[in-house]
Assembly symmetry: C2
Homo-oligomer: 284 residues x 2
């Protein structure tokens, strides 16, 4: 383990999980990546809600969210700023896909530093690229943040230029779905668009915050299929996740100089005002 | 860890892996499930070849197969009969899909008892079912035995009757691909058929043994698309994997009483004669 990381496994300080944990064996689990600000987890209620939805989908027993929230709040209380990663697996079992008998889910909380992103990213926008790796269509696993993430791993291996902040991924039907670590929004003719995520992709917590902000601002929002053509000719483009908030997109594959538009700025401002989260999640 | 299991992590006795292992974080790894007989791993060369192919596909450095083989041979030497599971992950890294800097793959060897299957399975055949869970089409990951196995986990959760030995899975184009833990062969009009696995599925080591045996026996083999209709009207049907060898299929979903046919018996006999493996893998 790197020195800056500290972890709790089932409530006890530990830096390892049993080899027979089904998260390790089969990716049989879920995770949440959360921003910690001033000893609190931003959007914790939303993270726990998505975790709960994932448990439903994978057939895990529902976690005790009150106890889990209390454990999280205690664990992050002393952290000024950073990242909490919460992993929940189906727990240990004998070898074999079918867990024999009752398994008890295992929870892992890990704190790590916030990545060192340049502050210009928020202001001027970031560079993206299109990935060759495709997201497969799989309604059964779409939306939830499960531990089977080889598609994202392979996509992220496609580039080494750290100045490219994320890669956009299409599904096998050539629809643009999301970044490897972010969700995508675009503005065309005054309408905010974001891809539907019922066939693949991860329904990000920050995406849900942005959708709520947009509705509150009276913006017209459409959730549907988005093509590369739509992306290319968008008036504004941004990506979001729980750690970065909203990053305007400045260019993709070195082309298409997108301006940082009014709707992107308005959403950034509303986000900074912190009215939608369970508390003000966003660094001033 | 259960008592009957013993493990080596990177060559040292251990029953845990670091939380930051990418196998646990993202399913970023590969595995092999091997049969141990009289202190030797059956088909070890084939297992290592598939592992090596998986490393190529995921962009892992190639393992030192000579050293790995030596470690395995030493580890299993005292075991009369059982299962060796070999897991190889991309190793530990900081949070994030892109492993920052060099990661060193981590290998985990675990021994466990052979499941207690009834001996009639070999002789009389087994009952199967069709699963509702679909395999998604993903050529990038097809064939290799990676750690993203939620499809198999969800499929195996569809039934609880232990007398049903495996579930057949179709892909999203309704082609029959494999069992959750086995590969499928069928005989129709004297021709042996098995599904192509270039779009999804796991290319099992025992499948490759059976293919070689069939060729040696002068059987006509076709690797292609197989429909439920093909399965329903097959003359003979069997599933195979490295632990079970060849199981004739007696029925699917309680229907279709398949006989244990001549070609299935011939392949079982050739397998028992042990001429294709690196040594006689099969219990007499």
């Amino acid at each position: 383990m790197t020195q800056e990381v500290s972890c709790l496994v089932d409530g006890r300080p530990a830096d390892a999980v049993p080899v027979d944990d089904r998260g390790f064996q089969y990716g049989d689990g879920l995770f949440e990546t959360c921003r910690v600000e001033d000893g609190r987890v931003a959007c914790l209620t939303r993270h726990l809600a998505r975790l709960s939805a994932g448990c439903e989908r994978l057939g895990f027993p529902q976690p005790d969210l009150v106890a889990l929230r209390a454990e999280i709040e205690s664990f992050v209380a002393a952290m000024r700023q950073g990242v909490l990663k919460l992993t929940l697996t189906r727990g240990s079992s004998a070898r074999g896909y079918g867990p024999a008998g009752d398994t008890r889910p295992r929870r892992v909380l890990c704190l790590s530093p916030l990545p060192d992103w340049p502050s210009e990213a928020q202001r001027d926008g970031v560079r993206l690229r299109f990935c060759d790796t495709r997201l497969v269509i799989n309604p059964r696993l779409a939306g939830i943040k499960h531990l089977n993430r080889l598609e994202q791993v392979l996509a992220r291996r496609e580039w080494h230029d750290e100045a490219i902040r994320d890669g956009l991924m299409c599904d096998t039907r050539e629809r643009v779905i999301e970044g490897t670590m972010s969700n995508l929004f675009l503005v065309t003719g005054g309408v905010l668009h974001t891809p539907r995520l019922d066939e693949c992709g991860v329904a990000g917590v920050m995406r849900s915050v942005v959708i709520d902000l947009a509705e509150r601002e009276g913006m017209v929002l459409e959730i549907g299929d988005i093509s590369r053509h739509d992306v290319r000719y968008a008036d504004e483009l941004f990506v979001c996740n729980s750690l970065i908030g909203i990053w305007p997109v400045a260019s993709i594959d070195g082309m298409n100089d997108y301006p940082v538009g009014d709707m992107t700025r308005a959403l950034q401002d509303r986000l900074a005002a912190g009215e939608t989260a369970t508390h003000n999640w966003y660094p001033r």
